[in-house]
């Protein structure tokens, strides 16, 4: 029998939470090779690695729709290897790297190189996102179909918005037929020009140029109208404002194929947390308390489809500069679940099922895919604790970069084991979690 030569993994006694089927019950999960083969209680398997998951949640493998792995081109900040190791430590089994590498992932050769490198060294699955326009310059369409053949799962010009309504329309019409979602980084360039944080009391106090909240919603409004015009799937990246969220909510009510993601830092921090510490400098910038509350509500009521990290590593020297000169971004894989548990689950805002959905079936649906725990499915699993106390130490991060404001934060619950295709890619040390 073929399965007898394949490695076996028996996860016993965990609380299986599977949004696709609505399952929430204690069950063993038997993995043979790269597939789930059986579920139920009292499963036995000879020569299996047995994992005692008593007290742990067993969820479908987490998907991160939005990250930056910096390879090729900026390997001093991150590589596919180090980035996916950090992702695995955060419980992610799939990561979607943005195309703003050097060179930009705007053609089949770069996509293939990323996928080949990932196959060789990555701890997680890597589903790249291609550029919408050549060089993400906003002029001509990239080789989207050719990139799709090599494995891209969406397109975007992330780091900047798709430049014009005309180009966006073309990209959307093209991607509608390729069945690819178009992801947009929404900001009005003229309002964002020169701004380094959210405009408000804090930016005025600090004397830092700010962008108003409307910067995002203006672009979202344009995008929703073009999505309606073309019938394409639109996904709003790192949504950060109440007004933009309201536009997404209305678009959904009108039946448009519009989705959005929210980052842990936007539902955790606000512009009041910004001083001159460049670790807090992100784009879109940290919003107001009112925005944060709106995002929490959207995460609870289903308007928000996914939690995405926007993991954006920058080597220390690049961030150790004046706030205005520092690049945008913070790393986020390893703290995402801890923050989500703290801010969403332990506060009673969302159920465990909804929390898992935001990391699994939610992002899968954005990409037109499924994610479930059932016999025959790929064995991508995330095991996490709901109550073990731990403290994040960025010095121990698997990432090459250290740019996070969450160093030293203590959490209640977090990733314990990450399984990708039947392979354990991360296992928390007992003493650390």
């Amino acid at each position: 029998m073929e399965s007898s030569v394949l490695p076996k993994l028996l996860i016993k006694g965990g609380r299986v939470v599977d949004p696709a089927s609505g399952t929430d019950r204690v069950s063993d999960v038997l993995v043979v090779g790269d597939k789930i083969v059986a579920m139920g209680t009292g499963l036995e398997a000879e020569q299996a690695r047995v994992v005692d998951a008593t007290g742990l949640v067993v969820a479908p493998g987490f998907i991160d729709l939005h990250c930056h792995l910096r390879e090729p081109g900026e390997e001093t900040s991150e590589t596919i290897e180090t980035g996916t190791r950090a992702a695995a430590r955060g419980g992610f089994t799939v990561v979607c790297p943005m195309p703003n590498t050097r060179p930009v992932n705007d053609n089949a050769a770069v996509t293939r190189a990323i996928c080949e490198r990932a196959a060789a060294v990555a701890a997680t699955r890597v589903w790249p996102i291609g550029a919408a326009s050549q060089g993400s310059r906003g002029e001509a369409l990239a080789e989207i179909a050719a990139m799709k053949a090599e494995g891209i799962v969406a397109v975007t010009d992330d780091g900047r918005p798709i430049a014009t309504a005309r180009l966006l329309r073309q990209v959307m019409e093209y991607c509608r037929e390729l069945d690819l979602p178009v992801i947009d980084h929404c900001e009005d360039p003229s309002l964002a020009d020169g701004a380094v944080m959210r405009e408000g009391t804090q930016s005025v106090r600090l004397g830092l140029p700010g962008m108003p909240a409307a910067t995002e919603a203006i672009a979202v409004a344009r995008d929703v109208l073009i999505a309606e015009l073309t019938g394409a799937r639109l996904h709003i990246a790192h949504l950060s404002t109440r007004s933009a969220l309201e536009l997404v909510r209305q678009a959904k009510q009108r039946g448009l194929a519009v989705t959005c993601e929210v980052t842990p830092h936007h539902f955790t921090l606000t512009d009041e947390d910004v001083s001159y510490d460049s670790r807090f400098k992100v784009n879109p910038p940290l919003g107001s308390q009112d925005d944060r509350e709106a995002l929490l509500a959207g995460l609870a009521d289903g308007t928000v489809d996914a939690i995405a990290t926007d993991h954006a590593p920058h080597e220390p020297a690049r961030k150790d500069v004046e706030f205005e000169r520092a690049p945008f971004g913070m790393i986020g894989f390893e703290t995402a679940l801890g923050l989500a548990l703290d801010r969403l689950y332990h506060t009673g805002l969302v159920s465990l099922m909804r929390l898992v959905e935001l990391f699994t079936t939610g992002p899968a649906r954005v990409l037109g895919r499924q994610r479930r725990i059932a016999p025959g499915e790929p064995a991508d699993l995330t095991l996490f604790s709901l109550d073990r106390r731990w403290t994040y130490r960025v010095a121990e991060s698997a990432s090459r970069s250290r740019n996070t404001p969450f160093d030293g934060w203590s959490f209640r619950g977090g990733p314990v084991m990450t399984v990708v295709g039947g392979r354990i890619v991360y296992e928390a040390r007992r003493e650390s979690l």
Partner: protein, 316 residues
């Protein structure tokens, strides 16, 4: 605990500010002496690290240090390694390695003074950081107002111009509000955002200059920064017509209300020459007081004889 740096007015208390102003008083008298040289800080050295062009502030600090007997070394960004790509962090560590006793910093980035203070082991004086604060300017302005009117408490002060981008305005707002001043901000609306009303108590915004000046005890005119990058400038004639401080408009203020300007002044733009040269203008007193305030500050921070015990009164 003693005052270690002077990075901003905002975190100081009214008592600490009053103490600094009182410390400046003997140095004000000293400016009148024919021989202006003390040995208090002999052997001490002060680096004037100016990452942004400035003549008057730099000269004022140089005069203050020199009159206390300290040596000064000037670091000018233009002639520096910055153009070779060296970071601010590395540059100031290099300056610190030359073992100065104090770094006076002027930089175009908001927060630069705090950034440097976190990275060096010597006192840092903020001589203007971007659009954030210019604390010694606010101190010298307060000294000038107190000399003219005998007090700071409860005054009605009107500040005119580009408030949003002005570090002078921010430092003055923080300082004056701590003394219970009623502050009126006036300027083109896009430069006077409502956020200021939430940052400091006692602020109101008035967009008609005549109304803003009504009953003012003090008028502060800001420089119009014509080099603004991300902000289109109002047409010059429009600004003059709406916001120039003219003798007619000044008559709306209390008789004899002092008129302050941080300089450099552009006559005929933000201020009518007749006001600039008139008896209410306090611009030259401001300059003289600037040296006195900076002497007091250097004396405190560099621990001149007796300075450490006196400054122990500053709980910061």
């Amino acid at each position: 605990m003693r005052l270690r740096h002077l990075l901003a007015i905002e975190p100081l208390t009214a008592e600490e500010i009053a103490f600094l102003l009182d410390q400046a008083r003997p140095f004000q008298q000293f400016q009148q002496y024919p021989l202006k040289k003390l040995a208090t800080l002999r052997g001490k050295s002060v680096v004037l690290a100016f990452f942004e062009p400035s003549t008057r502030t730099r000269l004022s600090f140089a005069a203050a240090a020199s009159r206390l007997g300290a040596d000064t070394y000037v670091f000018q960004a233009e002639a520096s390694s910055l153009k070779k790509g060296e970071s601010l962090a590395d540059t100031v560590r290099t300056l610190e390695a030359m073992k100065p006793d104090c770094i006076v910093l002027r930089h175009s980035a908001s927060g630069a003074a705090a950034f440097v203070a976190e990275r060096v082991g010597v006192p840092v004086i903020n001589a203007g950081d971007g659009q954030h604060e210019h604390p010694t300017q606010a101190l010298l302005d307060a000294l000038t107002i107190r000399d003219r009117l005998g007090r700071l408490e409860g005054l009605a002060v009107t500040i005119v111009g580009d408030i949003l981008h002005s570090r002078v305005a921010r430092s003055n707002l923080h300082l004056l509000s701590k003394f219970g001043c009623r502050l009126t901000l006036c300027g083109p609306p896009m430069w006077v955002p409502e956020e200021f009303e939430r940052i400091v108590p006692g602020v109101r915004r008035v967009f008609v200059l005549e109304e803003a000046l009504d009953g003012a005890d003090v008028v502060m005119v800001l420089r119009v920064q014509q080099e603004r990058l991300h902000e289109p400038m109002l047409p010059r004639e429009e600004y003059i017509a709406q916001y120039q401080l003219t003798p007619e408009r000044l008559r709306r203020a209390r008789p004899g209300a002092p008129v302050l300007h941080p300089g450099p002044m552009i006559r005929g733009l933000e201020i009518d020459p007749a006001v600039a040269d008139g008896p209410q203008a306090a611009v030259l007193e401001q300059v003289t007081n600037g040296v006195a305030v900076r002497m007091a500050l250097l004396y405190l921070l560099l621990g001149g004889a007796g300075g450490i015990e006196r400054s122990a009164e500053i709980a910061h």
